[in-house]
Symmetry: C2
Subunit: 380 residues, 2 copies
């Protein structure tokens, strides 16, 4: 294998795949990046077996030449050092040459690097999921749906299935649901899917979705998504992102969401966020994060929290609209803040069905998002 490649293109492709390389690999090959060179271009792959990322650099694109291939071939190089050294090479051009023992020489300017390469035959094989149906979704929408649901996924590895986000597709409607049993986030959107394409119980790790989200550039076009039995593939331009789906059956959450409310409040999102944030600062001192909302006579609410050692915060907030019964409720302010921070709408509706029943939070300008947090049982 022998080629010359533009440092910037190589570096960008390496940065994309590097996240899938295992930082503490059980076997050295899983801590590597596979480089495959053909006369069409250079394919980089990293895989920790849970996720795999592949990035392709074509020989040329729109009249710009990115690489010159003298001899095709492949090698696996240790990711950590390779990722950092390429970034710091002195010249715009990088020459890579690999001999039959996978001994690799990298030259750039007056820098000469010898690396011990590994046999690419030992590298994990990527899942083969061609032949499966695919759908597509605008990149920004995918990023928004991920941001607006991962917050409610569990971080407790003991409840493995709840560390994921449940995906379902039905009649072109893609829906994400996450819950850690204390709160729930749900988001749906219409996507470009074949009429008869449907799936349910596809659960993808929330952490993995956050990593995927970082790979999708802002204002990017459509992301193509292929769902197979136990793998999902995302195609973002020249990047392929494979992830395993989580094993197990996601709990049925469809009956948890109250459909009618005894009390309804419409509030300014920003003002409510700021007020709860201040009350949170005090409530945080008592590990419970308890904040209380009480409806007042004059179309306003009182938000309060207290700490035995520190004192008390009381806020009065005007309500855009209030209907139903008077209310006194206590909840985890951190959970409420997590929700308020991902709602992009100016106003929200909060629905209550009593001091012991789930609190529903929704934007007022569309019906695609629903959040639930369970209240605290408190006295007083």
């Amino acid at each position: 294998m022998k080629l010359t490649i533009s440092k910037n293109e190589l570096n960008e492709a390496i940065q994309h795949v590097a996240k899938a390389a295992s930082p503490r690999p059980t076997i050295p090959i899983l801590g590597g990046i596979k480089i495959e060179v053909t006369y069409q271009g250079i394919t980089l792959t990293a895989s920790d077996t849970d996720i795999s990322i592949q990035s392709f650099v074509p020989i040329e694109h729109e009249d710009t030449v990115y690489a010159h291939v003298e001899k095709p071939g492949s090698v696996v190089l240790p990711a950590k050092f390779f990722v950092e050294i390429v970034k710091k090479l002195p010249s715009d051009q990088v020459e890579i040459e690999v001999n039959s023992q996978f001994q690799t020489q990298i030259r750039s300017g007056s820098t000469d690097i010898q690396m011990v390469g590994l046999d690419p035959e030992e590298f994990p094989v990527l899942p083969s999921i061609s032949g499966n149906e695919s759908f597509s979704i605008p990149g920004d929408l995918l990023k928004a749906m991920i941001r607006q649901t991962v917050l409610a996924a569990s971080t407790n590895e003991q409840m493995a299935i709840l560390t994921g986000v449940l995906w379902t597709l039905n009649e072109g409607n893609l829906k994400f649901v996450s819950t850690d049993r204390h709160r729930l986030a749900s988001r749906n959107a219409v996507v470009n899917a074949p009429q008869d394409m449907r799936f349910h119980n596809v659960v993808i790790s929330a952490k993995t979705l956050v990593e995927l989200s970082k790979l999708v550039p802002e204002h990017h076009g459509e992301v193509e998504i292929v769902v197979a039995d136990n793998q999902v593939l995302f195609k973002i331009d020249n990047i392929l992102f494979f992830t395993r789906v989580l094993d197990g059956t996601y709990p049925d959450t469809s009956k948890i969401i109250p459909q009618t409310y005894k009390t309804e409040l419409v509030l300014d999102t920003k003002k409510l966020t700021d007020a709860i944030d201040r009350a949170y600062l005090m409530s945080r001192e008592e590990k419970t994060n308890i904040v209380r909302i009480v409806t007042l006579e004059d179309e306003s609410i009182e938000i309060s929290s207290s700490s035995t050692e520190l004192g008390r915060v009381t806020e009065q907030l005007e309500v855009g609209r209030m209907s139903g019964d008077p209310l006194r409720i206590a909840f985890n302010s951190k959970y409420m803040l997590d929700v308020l921070k991902v709602i992009d709408s100016e106003q929200i509706l909060i629905g209550f069905t009593g001091a012991m029943s789930p609190i529903v939070i929704k934007p007022t300008d569309h019906d695609h998002s629903t959040y639930i947090i369970l209240p605290y049982r408190t006295t007083g």
Copy 2:
């Protein structure tokens, strides 16, 4: 005590002093910020007994009114919550009222906060060091001198005195020296001091100097410095920064610095930094960070490092000027990088007196900085 104060001024003053409040105080009062209100202004103080910071907000400044005092008084409030809540208050104005039991009420917009205050009589008294002589130094120069010396101070708390930077003043020449026994940094400058003012063995914690440095704004005027027996006071506009000096006698380092060299190299600082940085990446894999420099025949040097598992990096670098004996030397590349990163000059001189003797590094355009690193004894 009762006053109204501009949120921004109060917030800025709090941020300045907050660093001196103990994050995990042994007694609650050390985790507090003392607020003293007079008809002249508001004084905030925090102290963990090692360092103390005081910031003053005048009632008005250049026709802008910052505060309105209804009743003077003082109180101590828990720093952590106070620091964060003031930043987040909704209105530009903050009203603070304290009753005789130090119960404190903070009002801003529709936010009402009750805080449990502490008795200011229990707060540590600041050192009294008036009457001592002072000198002054431009803020940017002080920041540069700190940045260019703290790197060589020890981080090993077992060698307490070496965790500090040694200050001496003699005939208007201020000198900073730091060493951890493997390397040494020395920086001096002429300052505005009374003719007969002199001191030696004033050792100030490197960590404290870094904190002090952050308090000095860029392009700030003169910082006034008062040196007393076991305290140093820095005056930065309306901020007073007190620090204890470290106990013990700083070792004599005057005879360590070689005055003549057997080999001299003049090199481009940026190019050398980049080359050593690449070699460092490889050397880091072997915990020792060993990088070698060998002089070549053709007015150039070879910089190299190797790792048994990863491979080898070799760099060739042109030398601006080379004189004396051929050389082969090994050193800790991390130490060398630490030095190169704080040298602001385009070219540096490296002086060697043999493979086992201290390596001297100096900028070529002035004689105010000297760095030393000890080489490694290696075979081959």
